[in-house]
């Protein structure tokens, strides 16, 4: 397959490299090597996400609208590979390695939150990771989505206590219930069934199934690595490895949305807003994060790294800040989408990364509930896109 590559945007490439180098040194100097490494890992995530255009919202939309399952199947691979490395760690198979599972109660808060997030993914034009890397890629409308993502996450954290009063059956960990190896085998079996179900549905619609690994494009490995585009499976491998490094360094799986609520609360407080009644921020880790520099928070550092990495990758690929007609209607829909993303993610104990991927890959059954209700929300979102005239009607 031939590939015409754009010229790299050299000024942006140089500025990004200087910024990456300076911020890493600054973090090491102000805090620790751990902080600097987490920022660099975030940068790697940003590069991987942008070069592979690896998002959840577009892939789920392709499946819902056209029964094209290639992207969705790559998510199954990502969850499976991440589970493969996380289950033994969480299960205590390696003495000396301590890490926390992303456990959350299985209840209405997660179900409703993930459903709202699913709608937001389609209206906002990106999921949690997708919003960050498209902002880094210079998509101006995604700045609006991110701004309202932050507002939504902040509002969600204020209302969270009420949502948590709704019925739930508590936290259920398959690793604690069955042991890490049987739980892993069960998880991989369920993921395999889901994988082949997606393949079957694509086969039924199109008579063939698009291969996950596409033919290589005509450029050297190094050129493709630096300038992109990456095949999906490169992203699956790199996201798994980088997520593992986050787990080893920070002691928890990759998560995104907590930082958005933190930023919103800090901004509201700085503007003179009263946060004394916001109980979520009154104790535990949230209180400490609020009372520390934003640069001390691991999720914030990783998010900054993702944006920085995506800027660099987009500039290398020659499509930073692409031309795109942005209408007022698109901005309004992006704002609604952003609010749904933020509010839903807070209720659902995380976005597609911190709730779905981290939940499932660390054995928390709320991750499976997130998948089902988040996907249902995405279906509703796809039809809302048609209603908002962003897309043509869905063919049966």
């Amino acid at each position: 397959m031939s590939h015409t590559r754009e010229k790299p945007d050299l000024p942006v490439v140089l500025l990004s490299l200087v910024a990456l180098f300076s911020i890493s040194l600054l973090l090491q100097n102000l805090f620790s090597l751990k902080h600097a490494l987490l920022f660099i890992i975030g940068t790697g995530l940003g590069i991987s996400l942008l070069h592979a255009a690896y998002g959840f919202s577009g892939a789920w939309r392709d499946f819902i609208r056209k029964r094209m399952s290639r992207g969705f199947r790559s998510h199954i691979w990502l969850i499976a590979l991440t589970s493969l490395v996380f289950f033994p760690i969480i299960g205590g198979a390696f003495s000396g390695l301590q890490a926390s599972a992303a456990l959350a109660p299985i209840g209405l808060s997660v179900a409703i939150g993930a459903f709202i997030f699913g709608i937001g993914m389609q209206l906002g034009g990106g999921c949690g990771s997708g919003t960050l890397f498209t902002v880094g890629g210079g998509h101006v409308n995604m700045l609006v989505t991110l701004l309202f993502f932050i507002i939504g996450a902040t509002t969600g954290s204020v209302h969270l206590n009420w949502w948590l009063s709704l019925p739930d059956i508590g936290k259920v960990s398959s690793i604690t219930s069955f042991g890490w190896l049987p739980a892993l085998l069960l998880q991989l079996t369920l993921l395999t069934i889901l994988y082949f179900l997606l393949r079957k549905l694509e086969q039924n619609r199109h008579g063939k199934v698009q291969a996950l690994i596409q033919p290589a494009i005509q450029q050297s490995f190094l050129q493709q690595l630096i300038f992109g585009p990456w095949p999906l499976w490169w992203a699956v491998i790199s996201l798994t490895v980088l997520n593992l490094l986050i787990m080893l360094l920070a002691g928890h799986a990759w998560s995104i949305t907590f930082a958005f609520g933190l930023w919103g609360t800090k901004i509201w407080s700085a503007l003179g807003g009263d946060i004394s009644s916001w109980t979520y921020w009154a104790s535990g880790y949230p209180a400490r994060a609020l009372n520390n520099s934003v640069l001390a928070d691991t999720t914030s550092i990783i998010n900054f790294g993702i944006i920085a990495g995506a800027i660099l990758a987009a500039a290398l690929a020659g499509h930073f800040a692409p031309e795109k007609t942005i209408t007022k209607r698109l901005l309004v829909i992006s704002a609604i989408g952003g609010l749904c993303l933020g509010y839903g993610a807070r209720l659902a104990f995380g976005c597609n990364i911190g709730g779905l991927l981290a939940g499932m890959a660390t054995g928390s059954l709320h991750g499976w509930l997130w998948l089902v209700t988040g996907f249902a929300g995405a279906i509703a979102g796809v039809y809302l896109r048609v209603w908002f005239k962003l897309d043509k009607p869905v063919k049966a």
Binding site: K34, H35, S255, G284, P286, A296, T298, T299, E323
Partner: protein
């Protein structure tokens, strides 16, 4: 259009950087009136409020290990 988008992105990143800098300095700069009082303590203990030790502590306790955390809220 492309130049305009560059400017918008540049401005957004610039504003965000300033906000992070303001937030960071507001948490790490000592209050002027207490600066003299704390000077001798700072020299004795490497783990004062401004030092890397106290900030490292926040990392050692993972957000996911706590009940009121981003990953496992109660």
């Amino acid at each position: 259009m492309k130049k305009r988008n560059h400017w918008i992105m540049g401005s957004a990143i610039g504003i965000a950087s300033i906000a992070v800098a303001i937030d960071h300095t507001s948490h790490t700069l000592p209050k002027p009136e207490t600066n003299i009082e704390y000077q001798s303590d700072d020299e004795e203990s490497p783990c004062s409020l401004d030092s890397p030790c106290s900030l490292d502590d926040s990392l050692d306790e993972s957000p996911c290990s706590l009940d009121s955390s981003p990953c496992s809220l109660d």
